[in-house]
Symmetry: C2
Subunit: 355 residues, 2 copies
């Protein structure tokens, strides 16, 4: 059966109606739309066809129709019109994205929170992982008699720091010495390559003159490991309560349980990485069975063409894809801009130096 223009138009109307009302769509309500000058009976015939094609499903015999996963997929891929953001919305986003200078993690989380409250949907996000990260600089700074701070920056300027509690007094010179040793041995490696064996080696190079070194190296290892674990977060999860589909607590609980599991989130976010642009996962396409009635829109953010992390929106399958996709793309672009300004600028300096 061919999917002619009229069918497409009807399909689009159904999906959009369902997105707005969350109620199964009947033939009458579609026939009322002025752009389709057709009777309910005609619509019924067409809807029958669309159901046969697997684009619609009927919750029960005498109810209206609801889009199936492939129905949404069709809508997202070819029916949907691009949502044009209003000037007001753009202004609001820009304002939210215009964050004060601070650490990467905070910026990303803040932007995610702003996006969540703006979109009224939960936002999931991932902070930069390790595959991309090459350690450029390690520094140990004495900040107190028995405390030092370990500061690690990677080539795109991402910074992670960790307090080293040495339980033993150290000197400034010792910290400097330590910085030098660590830099000589670890700078240039990707973070994921810095493992315990590696660190042990460093330790053996230095020799075991200082007893304190063993515990320091252990802490360094811990610190690097901590950088290693990709950080995944969720902001504004309670926004989901606004939707009628979460009208009973069972559903809410199921969702919360699924989302509190890092593994699940990680699986979802990994789906976005290869694509490099906004990606929509609908219903069963999400690699977490519990979320089969939801959809996720994912988009990566970058610093100088390098994917740094991912931001995603989680909502019911009937979410307003058009709007969410536009907004998410805009947000990740803004985020990329902010990050480039704060963390990427040095690229130019380096570039200049190399020329």
């Amino acid at each position: 059966m061919a999917l002619d223009d009229r069918k497409k138009l009807i399909m689009q109307a159904i999906v959009e109606d369902y997105i707005n009302t969350a109620e199964p769509v009947g033939s009458r309500s579609i026939s009322k739309k002025p752009e389709l000058n057709l009777s309910a009976a005609t619509i019924r015939n067409e809807m029958g066809d669309l159901e046969e094609m697997g684009l619609l499903v009927q919750p029960h015999t005498s109810a209206g129709r609801v889009p199936s996963t492939s129905g949404y997929r069709l809508y997202v891929d070819s029916l949907m019109e691009k949502y044009e953001m209003t000037a007001a919305e753009i202004a609001e986003i820009k304002q939210a994205a215009c964050k004060k200078t601070q650490e990467l993690e905070k910026i990303v989380r803040d932007v995610a929170a702003a996006f969540s409250s703006l979109s009224g949907l939960p936002v999931i996000g991932m902070l930069p992982g390790t595959e991309t990260g090459v350690v450029k600089n390690i520094k140990v700074v004495k900040i107190d008699n028995d405390k030092a701070m370990l500061i690690v920056s990677d080539k795109s300027g991402i910074i992670k720091n960790k307090l080293l509690n040495l339980h033993q007094d150290i000197s400034d010179e010792f910290a400097d010495q330590l910085s030098e040793i660590l830099n000589q041995n670890l700078a240039g490696l990707t973070i994921s390559k810095i493992n315990l064996a590696n660190i042990m080696e460093v330790q053996s190079v230095i020799g075991k003159n200082f007893e304190i070194l063993a515990s320091v190296m252990e802490l360094v290892h811990e610190a690097v490991m901590e950088i290693d674990t990709k950080q995944i977060f969720v902001e504004g999860l309670s926004n989901i309560l606004r939707f009628p589909e979460y009208g009973n607590v069972e559903k809410v609980k199921e969702l919360f349980d699924a989302v509190e599991n890092r593994e699940n989130l990680s699986k979802i976010i990994m789906e976005a990485v290869p694509s490099g642009q906004a990606k929509v996962l609908i219903g069963e396409e999400i690699p977490v069975p519990e979320l089969k009635h939801n959809s996720v829109v994912l988009a990566p953010y970058r610093v100088s063409d390098q994917i740094m992390g991912v931001l995603g929106v989680l909502g019911p399958a009937r979410m307003d894809y058009s709007k969410v996709i536009s907004a998410l793309e805009f947000f990740t672009k803004q985020l990329s801009d902010v990050l480039r300004k704060d963390f990427g600028e040095r690229q130019k300096l380096i570039g200049r130096g190399d020329e």
Copy 2:
């Protein structure tokens, strides 16, 4: 009407029954308890009295009774037996509290998360504020061509750091110079006393030789302000979904809305500060009307007798006070221990130096 021993016993049985079942307690179920050898009719008479005294309320004519706020209050203040934690529980808590060396914020949040998953209740917490904090040391460390890190530590060793993005190349010497200037002028002040006027003054002392100073000082101000804002957090909020009282989404939404408001949390936590020990707020005693069906147990944690912050448990009014109070006290004690080890030890060193 006097509250004789039998009434107390009955009252205790009612509260505990209700804590366990979440169902209004009838006379029959109480009369079955072996420790009270009384018939249902007698219990009914007593319950009538207790209701008249305002300790119990009846949801409707033919239902059992439920403790009122003053009923819970009586229970907590004089009826309740102290819960003795099992060795297994203690071991689990110790294990959870035995955190790796890391920054204060992370420790506290991790402990709160562990407590939440252990108690099955949401945990709210506050990180150290500013009234207590006296800046002891400020350090600016160059970590890249155009970036530096500002590290602030206070007298109890709490550390807060912030990335300074200078958008301009600086030298190590400049960073050192800056550290010295900041230290000379700001060390010794409480964080809350470091305001813009103050910083401006520093700036005027240095003179305006370097144009870059203006922006640095602005960033310093921002950083200090950021330290200033008390940080309040909630862990494991979704635990609340386990309770039958949150069986409908309206209730859940109301709670989430109330809890997402920082002002509310701040109000609640402030209640704990003067007391200095575990404090229970029941029902309407909570300064947030939306939480009138809940209770909060709060306890401060300390470093060397100085209150550093607060941890609290939020749950339905019928929570197991005895258990929650014991566990919370134990947890905050453990937290204090960990913090003392990581942040407080230097106190001794300083003390030694002064002697």
